[in-house]
């Protein structure tokens, strides 16, 4: 017998909270990126778990799409971080505040 759906949801929630915690506390942009990835994968776990639960493959297909998107997002994110470093000699997200009002 397979694992009950609740555990998947709990795992996903735990991962999401870990990611959120990372975003709210960390200042390093790379950590940010990683936290975002963790949150994204929490959502992926949910998609696959519910797809399995319902016996419907749509969720799994979506998860594949999400992964591809995540790869693209990381590419863009890393690009931003590179530019950030070039301009500020740092990857601390609290430093670049010049664009506010």
């Amino acid at each position: 017998m397979s694992v009950a759906i609740e555990y998947y949801v709990l795992l996903s929630m735990a991962l999401f909270c870990i990611g959120l915690f990372g975003i709210l506390t960390r200042r390093n942009a790379l950590m940010f990126l990683m936290s975002v990835e963790i949150m994204l994968n929490a959502a992926n776990i949910n998609l696959i778990a519910f797809a399995f639960y319902h016996g419907n493959l749509t969720g799994q297909v979506f998860a594949l799409f999400t992964m591809a998107l995540a790869a693209a997002e990381v590419a863009v994110g890393l690009g931003i971080i590179l530019v950030l470093y070039r301009n500020f000699r740092d990857v601390d997200v609290t430093v670049p505040t010049t664009m506010r009002w």
């Binding site: 975003i23 940010f32 505040t97 506010r100």
Partner: protein, 679 residues
């Protein structure tokens, strides 16, 4: 003959073409634009005469056509038609045809005279002058044959603009621009009421046509007959109100009390322009408008009585001021105001024929007098003060005799033209006055003014032409050419004989049919004829006689003649001496009052500076503080608010994420509470 009417628009378009030519090519033309002007006004005169013949000989006796509709729409009128149209149209009925001939004739003669007065005197800026004259003539002619009130209003305004341009012709002097500005502003004050009147009439009756079945006059008559309520007033009261609003424009343009102050100042313009303004255009426009929509005034006894009283009062008021002036043009200016007062009196007492008759005669003799004064000014090397003239009688016989003919007509001496029309006006006023005390007062003022008219006219003639020369210029006058003598002679003949047009007293005494003008004005469109007006007036005024009709005619004519002769006689006694002296000191305090024109300018300036200016200042302050303050307050508040709110944007991504999450949680909790999850 009827096909001739297709060329009617050209009457006004000829001078317009002359205006364009003079403006564009005037500097390259031999006489600087005078020749196109003369040709154009001559063409207008010929066409106007043809129209006169066509109206006289045609089957219908009038021409009415809409040329162009520039706006049409639903009418929100109280009565009458569903839709309203704003059009340009031509109405040539006996009245308009007569006026067209007068205007184009005077304008033609003024153009010819200008050759001698402006060209030969080496004036600069002549293309501008001739362009102004052309535009002036165009506006007036188009105003005369306008078939609706809005078109009339437009050209009325254009006439005002042209007078501004021409009065200020010598714009390098100090006084001319200010006189031009004054003429423009004072007439504009009256025109403001006129505009409101036009809108009121359009809003009430849904039409602005002068004549025909769908005219506002017919609609007003129907509304009065049907006892309708218009804008909360009885129909007759409303007609009175709108008629008086339109009268505002008339009072301004025709220089009636209290808006007459611009006219004496307008003497700053060239004398030829004064002749045109006073005889045929501008000032005549006001009285012509009353005659044009006489049916409307005839519906309202109150409006008529006001017209009559204003006219009678102005006639006397201006005549007294004319008696103390030293400048020959000033005397003529006040005589113009006074004579237009007579016309208003005539129209106001229902003497439609008399008013139009005097308008015609006055056009001839006043143009003659002004052109004569222009000739005198040339003779005198541009001196206008009568005390420096004298003795010109033998040196300039043509000018003298034509001037005397004009003066006799102006003073109303039998058998010159002015006598017949002025007498008819006074007779009409008298027979109504015998029943209505207010009109009797207006009549009395008109009658007294006859004495003053005789006095100032002959004071002017004697001081200018008689006695010994009182300056070097008067001893050796400058000669005048044919271009000056020809218009003078033409107008001189007309001033003498024009009275034949309507010898009403002769008809009333002997029964010989000599009232040509009356039968002329009986034709035309139904509702705008003298017959229709007579019917309307039958309800308005009762008339009475002293004894029989014949004795009344004789008494009225005798009284006005006696007064005219005594006025002229006093002038003869005082001023027809070799060395005339001023007698004005004998008037004492009255002299100062007359000399200062009854302080009319002073009180109007006071009204402007003491009342309007503070009011405008207060309004300005209100605008600057309250209105601007409100607007500024709104922007200040939002600026201040946004300055505080924008602090949320720290530029730190973490904070945004925290806000996002907090917002999401709050939203979730709210939805939960509302959805009842926690129950």
């Amino acid at each position: 003959m009827e096909g001739l009417f297709d060329y009617a628009p050209a009457i006004a378009l000829f001078p317009l073409a002359a205006f364009v030519i003079a403006l564009a090519f005037g500097n390259y033309l031999p006489k600087k634009g005078a020749i196109p002007g003369i040709v154009a006004t001559g063409g207008s005169l010929a066409l106007s005469l043809a129209m006169l013949a066509a109206v006289a000989g045609g089957e219908e006796g009038y021409y009415h056509d809409t040329l162009y509709t520039w706006a049409a729409g639903d009418a929100a009128s109280e009565v009458g038609p569903e839709g309203i149209e704003f059009t340009f149209g031509i109405l040539i009925d006996p009245l308009a045809a007569l006026m067209l001939v007068i205007v184009s004739l005077i304008s033609f003669l003024v153009h010819v005279f200008s050759l001698g007065y402006m060209n030969d005197e080496g004036e600069t800026g002549l293309p501008r002058y001739y362009a102004g004259l052309g535009l002036f003539t165009f506006s007036m002619l188009a105003f005369v044959y306008a078939d609706n009130l809005l078109m009339a209003f437009m050209f009325f305004e254009l006439v005002g603009l042209c007078s501004f341009l021409l009065i200020g012709f010598w714009f390098r002097t100090r006084s001319a621009p200010s006189a031009a500005k004054k003429a423009f502003l004072v007439t504009r004050f009256g025109d403001y009421f006129f505009l409101i009147g036009v809108i009121a009439i359009a809003a009430t009756f849904g039409t602005l046509q002068f004549a025909g079945n769908d005219s506002f006059i017919a609609a007003a008559e129907a509304a009065i007959d049907g006892n309708e309520q218009l804008f909360g007033f009885g129909a007759e009261t409303w007609v009175t109100i709108t008629a008086l609003l339109v009268l505002g424009g008339v009072v301004g343009k025709s220089a009636q009390f209290p808006l007459h102050t611009w006219l004496p100042d307008a003497m700053e313009g060239p004398t030829t322009v004064s002749a045109l303004i006073h005889a045929a255009t501008m000032v005549a426009a006001g009285v012509y408008l009353v005659a044009r929509m006489f049916g409307y005034y005839a519906l309202s006894p109150t409006a008529l009585a006001i017209v009559a009283f204003v006219g009678g009062f102005t006639a006397l008021f201006a005549a007294t001021m004319g008696c103390v002036k030293d400048d020959v043009k000033q005397v003529l200016a006040y005589s113009t105001i006074s004579q237009y007062g007579y016309m208003m009196l005539g129209l106001g007492v229902g003497g439609y024929v008399a008013g139009v008759f005097h308008l015609m005669n006055h056009a001839f003799f006043k143009a003659l007098l002004f052109l004569g004064a222009g000739a005198v000014i040339i003779l005198m090397h541009h001196e206008q003060n009568m005390w420096k003239m004298g003795g010109l009688k033998d040196k300039a016989p043509v000018t003298y005799w034509t001037f005397v003919a004009g003066a006799l007509a102006l003073a109303g001496i039998i058998p010159f033209s002015g006598f017949w029309s002025k007498d008819e006006i006074l007779y009409d006023a008298l027979i109504v006055g015998l029943e209505e005390p207010l009109i009797l007062a207006a009549y009395a003022m008109g009658l007294v003014a006859v004495f003053f008219t005789g006095f100032y006219t002959f004071r002017m003639v004697f001081l200018t032409f008689h006695g010994k020369p009182r300056s070097e210029a008067a001893e050796d006058p400058h000669g005048v050419g044919w271009s000056i003598k020809l218009p003078l002679l033409t107008l001189g003949v007309l001033a003498v004989v024009a009275g034949i047009a309507n010898l009403a007293p002769v008809y009333k005494l002997t029964g010989i049919e000599l009232t040509f003008l009356e039968s002329w004005l009986e034709g035309g469109l139904e509702g705008t004829t003298y017959v229709a007006y007579t019917e309307l007036l039958g309800d308005v005024y009762d008339t009475g006689f002293i004894g029989t009709e014949s004795t009344t005619v004789l008494i009225a004519a005798g009284l006005s003649l006696a007064l005219a002769f005594s006025g002229a006689g006093v002038a003869w006694k005082l001023y027809n001496v070799p060395e005339p002296v001023r007698h004005t000191e004998k008037l004492g305090g009255a002299y100062d009052v007359l000399r200062s024109n009854y302080y009319q300018d002073e009180y109007q300036v006071w009204l402007a500076e003491g009342l309007t200016l503070p009011l405008a200042r207060a309004a300005d302050r209100f605008d600057q503080t309250v209105i601007d303050g409100t607007v500024d307050g709104v922007s200040t508040a939002s600026l201040f608010g946004s300055d505080r709110v924008k602090r949320i944007q720290t530029g730190i991504v973490t904070n945004y994420a925290a806000l996002l999450v907090t917002g999401f949680i709050v939203l979730l909790i709210v939805l939960g509470i509302l959805g009842g999850w926690f129950v």
